[in-house]
């Protein structure tokens, strides 16, 4: 009798084992399935006079093979991988905006500057002037196009973030639902393997979007935390996330932040970017807040420096009808610093651009720790630099070409977001289209004294507006009278201000009178600059006159000194010491380096994630060969148990036959 019981129990147990193996085989390719193995336990034996007689086998439980540690590690690594690859994908797109080569933006800028050469050598050729203005227009349009493409990338990122956030919120709710089911199933005594697998898979999916930490509770639910400590899922309650502008500076900062909202509450808590960890949301936010902003800054600085320099030089020259030139490109009006919403005082900061050649390619946050002290931090990754008084603050910005005018008293913890060049590239526009409006002529002209006996030659003459604004010479002109010797010296008549040595930055006043003459030195007088070569003899003179004075008639129409000065802008350092012609190469390299290092990081985190996943599935994945072997094993056991039942039956039959009449 008991043999029958043992046999039937064994049959049942082996059937369950077979079914479990079958279940594993069926789910070999199911995502997130942990292989189940049957745990057999022996039924306690019955005490008899001859000993404890075993009573067969029982299925204790169906064990879900998984390692909690490996599962968490694999999830976290996959999360970092998702974040890095989301960032790399977007950086590749950003890199295309800064592509080089003959069709790149840098080549367009250089072609525009080189076109001035034809104007310099053919003063009366209107076609050459037309070409310059057309190229300026094209460059402006391309800058606008590049800025638009950056805007498109930003819009794509925003859309993608919205989609990710929707997915996160949905997943959170699903996890909460599964938690609820698991808690109810826990009362049954056996672990709900499939629900646990489902929850783990949901958490893994959630980690692809944003990295989480999990804490298991006693009732079988797992609470999911984002950003270190915000409970996205607590038991069966799910919170929600959203993307919005930062609270302190709003949309003006161009950044986005993740917000956390408790269920049933209407307040949103802002989550700091450094707490987010991994996940595609974190990667996209990092891209949006730092990489994309750098792209914007580089482009805007280029547009601003080019516009302001070209405008300034054109306004110093004469057009074909003898009037001073106008602006060639639209003026760049700096965006004023944005006060934070949390500011307690009504103080404000006003900015204007004082030197377009020193502009920075980053934005700043000024935090006041007292009425006149505080720190300045470059965004996004700068170190905080302290200032002890308002003069220090102003010096900091004037070193970067910006003139800061503080207004009103400040309280501690007041903050300001300084991003003066925002959208400069998107608004760049050519203003002049008529060839006569290109101010190619110098407003001053120079004549050597006709009886000069030395070897003086005019190397260059241009209006620079430095260090003093341009003051046109009187009708008799500004006369430089030379005395030969070693060193040769000269004196001035007719000038308004003192002469400067223009080769230093800032220009240094010349010692004298009489002033020492060095061949080839740039001498800056009254806002124009003259370079003379050769050796003067005593009595030599050079007269600089006002080109629009009637005594010179229409001679200025054949002069192209100002176009020459515009060509010289190619060699003016404008971008952290790089010249105009090399500025784009620098920007391209900067974005390229970011992309390259992001690519390396993504490759590394991808192989790391793959390794951890392999380790995880080494424990919880299904191996078909193994299952096949187990099938054979349990089939054999089943056959043996069936045989046992048959034997038990024949034993019973024998007994009945023997006992029956």
């Amino acid at each position: 009798m008991s043999l029958l019981n043992v046999g039937s129990r064994a049959l049942l147990a082996n059937q369950v084992a077979l079914q479990t193996a079958g279940n594993n085989i069926a789910n070999v390719n199911t995502q997130g399935y942990s292989r189940q193995s049957v745990v057999l336990q022996t039924v306690p034996g019955q005490f008899t006079g001859g000993g404890y007689i075993g009573k067969g086998v029982d299925v204790a439980t169906i064990l879900r093979n998984q390692s909690e540690l490996l599962t968490r590690q694999a999830s976290a690594a996959a999360s970092v991988d998702a974040s890095d690859s989301a960032r790399v994908e977007r950086l590749r797109q950003l890199q295309d905006v800064f592509s080089g080569g003959a069709s790149g933006l840098g080549a367009a800028i250089n072609d525009m500057m080189n076109a001035f050469s034809d104007v310099v050598n053919s003063p009366t050729d209107l076609t050459a002037r037309n070409i310059v203005l057309t190229r300026i227009d094209e460059t402006a349009k391309r800058m606008v196009g590049a800025s638009d493409r950056l805007d498109e990338i930003a819009a794509t990122v925003t859309e993608q973030l919205k989609g990710d956030i929707k997915a996160i919120n949905l997943l959170a709710q699903n996890i909460a639902g599964v938690n609820d089911q698991i808690a109810r199933a826990k009362g049954n005594g056996q672990p709900a393997n499939d629900l646990l697998d489902q929850r783990d898979q949901l958490i893994r999916n959630l980690n692809q979007h944003i990295q989480t930490t999990q804490v298991a509770a006693d009732d079988g639910t797992v609470s999911v935390f984002v950003a270190g400590s915000q409970p996205l899922v607590l038991g069966n309650q799910a919170a929600s996330l959203s993307i919005d502008d930062p609270q302190d500076f709003g949309a003006a900062s161009g950044q986005k932040r993740l917000y956390f909202q408790q269920p049933g509450s209407s307040t949103k808590a802002e989550l700091g970017e450094s707490t987010l960890g991994g996940g595609s949301v974190a990667g996209l936010l990092r891209f949006q807040n730092s990489d994309l902003q750098e792209g914007y800054q580089l482009l805007n600085r280029m547009a601003t420096a080019i516009s302001l320099n070209l405008n300034q030089q054109n306004q110093l020259g004469l057009t074909l009808d003898g009037s001073m030139g106008q602006a060639l490109l639209s003026d760049v009006v700096p965006v004023q610093p944005q006060p934070a919403i949390t500011n307690t005082s009504a103080g404000s900061l006003a900015l204007s651009i004082s030197d377009p050649n020193k502009l920075p390619a980053s934005s700043y946050v000024v935090v006041f720790t007292g009425g006149t002290t505080g720190t300045i931090t470059a965004q996004p990754n700068g170190q905080a630099q302290a200032f002890a008084n308002m003069a220090d603050l102003q010096t900091f910005f004037s070193d970067r070409g910006l003139q800061l005018t503080p207004g009103g008293p400040f309280n501690a913890n007041d903050q300001f977001f300084v991003n003066p060049l925002k959208n400069a590239a998107g608004k760049m526009q050519a203003l002049q289209f008529s060839p006569g409006q290109l101010a190619a002529a110098n407003p001053v002209n120079a004549a050597m004294g006709a009886s000069n006996a030395g070897s003086l030659q005019l190397a260059s003459l241009k209006a620079s507006g430095e260090p003093a604004p341009l003051t046109l010479p009187p009708a008799a002109g500004v006369v430089l009278s030379f005395t030969g010797g070693t060193p040769a010296t000269f004196t001035l008549t007719g000038n308004t201000g003192a002469p400067f040595d223009a080769s230093t930055t800032p220009p240094t006043p010349l010692a004298g009178p009489p002033y020492t003459f060095t061949s080839g030195q740039a001498i800056s007088i009254d806002g124009w600059e003259i370079k003379l070569g050769g050796t003067p003899k005593t009595g030599d003179s050079v007269t600089v006159g006002n080109a629009t004075d009637p005594q010179y008639g229409d001679w200025y129409k054949r002069n192209t000194g100002n176009a020459d000065a515009m060509m010289a802008l190619r060699d003016t350092p404008m971008f952290d010491g790089a010249t105009l012609s090399d500025g784009f190469a620098g920007a391209m390299a900067q974005i390229g380096t970011r992309t390259q290092s992001a690519q390396f990081a993504a490759e590394l985190s991808s192989s790391f994630a793959a390794n951890l996943e392999r380790d995880r599935t080494a424990v919880s994945g299904v191996n078909l060969d193994e299952e096949a072997a187990r099938l054979i094993q349990y089939q054999q056991a089943y056959q043996a148990s069936a045989k046992m039942v048959q034997i038990a039956q024949s034993v019973f039959d024998t007994l009945i036959q023997t006992m029956g009449r």
Binding site: N65, Q95, P123, M448, A459, W555, N559, Q596, V622
Partner: protein, 422 residues
């Protein structure tokens, strides 16, 4: 639970094989892109430093091309200016020959008048040559800036800004100094024309030699910066030694007040009559001339010295004096004109040789720019281009690796215990 150290999940095995195959395929595709484009650095992220270097090299190459184009324009302009000066020298030579022929004693007034009109024609031609423009309508000899026709303005001056533009390391100036070529300056050249305003008696061929500038820096200037006009009235008196003559002369200037080497009247050195005279006049600082002719005691002659402002002015004076009708005035004018025209030719030659030097410089600049251009192209290529041999060999390797991955995948997936369980 089995020991996880030696276990592998089937699904994960396939996943990892797929990952490897995909990544190999991607690198194969990338190499193919490199091969077809010929570039090792297709995007900045492939090698940011090299990409920036290639971009900078390309910028410099296009800049050199622009500079070469400008240099060609400048070279054309200077070549044209140089040939213009050559033409001007040719016209001056023709004028010189005519002036020499006008000194022929056998010519009468109408012969001299016809010489004068031929000279006038050549003078107009000279002015046209000097005003020649380049293809863009800018005068070739415009110096630092001039009117559309710089020779001459209403006052007979160069209508522009005198001086010479210097070239740079990549360019040469595109205009020459017309003022230096055609205009005279008193304190540099000291060109004066001496004409006889009254000679008594007319038969003694009283006159002067050409005016030389013994020390041009000493020549006095009026407060307005011009040279003085001088009038010298000479009368021949008895000299210190018996039987000799001396010239007693007084010099006045217009405007008055010119400094002189001493006080009026001046007396020259003794002259022995009977030979053609050549009596030095030393009163005017910086200038020297000799009184010529065959003077006798009591002869008087009045000379007028006018500064010549340009070659054109010299030729105009010669035309006026040769065509004026008087033989002695013509003889005097021929002597003056020949000497002054030679001074003018000196100036033309000096500016012309400067033009030649500029053309040489242009050739040198062109050569060095070509060399730089080649070097920059090599830099760019080294930074950006693919070494084809390396690229093809890498591609072959990747191809072999990819094939191996594909084959092994196909083989491994055939192996399963299920194949052996009947």
């Amino acid at each position: 639970m089995s020991n996880a150290l030696n276990r592998l999940s089937t699904a994960n095995m396939y996943d990892s094989a797929l990952r490897n195959m995909t990544s190999r395929q991607t690198s194969l595709a990338n190499l193919q892109e490199n091969l077809t484009s010929g570039k090792r650095v297709v995007r900045a992220s492939d090698d940011p430093v090299a990409a920036a270097q290639a971009e900078r090299s390309m910028t410099r190459i296009t800049r050199i091309q622009t500079e070469q184009r400008a240099l060609d324009l400048q070279r054309n302009a200077v070549a044209q200016a140089e040939s213009t000066l050559g033409d001007a020298v040719g016209v001056m030579q023709q004028m010189r020959e005519l002036v020499v022929s006008a000194g022929n004693g056998a010519f009468n007034a109408s012969d001299r008048a016809s010489v004068a009109s031929q000279l006038q024609g050549l003078r107009t031609q000279l002015q046209d040559v000097a005003n020649r423009k380049d293809t863009n309508g800018v005068p070739l000899l415009s110096a630092l800036g001039s009117a559309a026709t710089p020779f001459l303005n209403a006052l007979g001056e160069f209508d522009g800004l005198a001086g010479q533009m210097a070239g740079s390391s990549v360019s040469i100036p595109n205009a020459l100094d017309g003022d230096a070529a055609f205009m005279f300056q008193p304190q540099r050249d000291g060109v004066f024309n001496a004409s006889v305003s009254a000679a008594v008696p007319a038969t003694h061929s009283l006159g002067s030699s050409a005016v030389t500038a013994t020390d041009p820096a000493q020549i006095a200037l009026t407060p307005g910066g011009n040279a003085y006009d001088y009038q010298i009235s000479v009368s021949y008196i008895a000299g210190g030694a018996p039987g000799t003559l001396a010239a007693q002369y007084s010099v006045t200037s217009t405007p008055p007040g010119a400094p002189l080497n001493g006080a009026n009247p001046f007396v020259s050195a003794d002259y022995v009559p009977g030979r053609p005279a050549s009596i030095a006049m030393t009163a005017i600082p910086g200038l020297g001339l000799n009184f010529t002719g065959s003077p006798q005691l009591g002869d008087t002659v009045t000379l007028a010295l006018k500064p010549s402002s340009s070659i054109f002015d010299t030729v105009d004076t010669a035309i006026r004096d040769i065509g004026s009708g008087s033989a002695s005035a013509a003889t005097q004018a021929v002597g003056q004109a020949l000497a002054n025209m030679d001074r003018g030719l000196e100036r033309l030659h000096s500016v012309r040789s400067y033009a030649g030097e500029l053309l040489n410089r242009a050739d040198r600049i062109g050569g060095s720019q070509d060399t730089r251009s080649v070097q920059l192209e090599a830099d760019r290529s080294r930074a950006e281009d693919l070494d084809m041999i390396q690229g093809i060999s890498d591609f072959q390797n990747q191809q072999v690796g990819y094939e191996a991955a594909l084959k092994s995948y196909a083989m491994v997936q055939k192996l399963s215990l299920f194949n052996f369980i009947s």
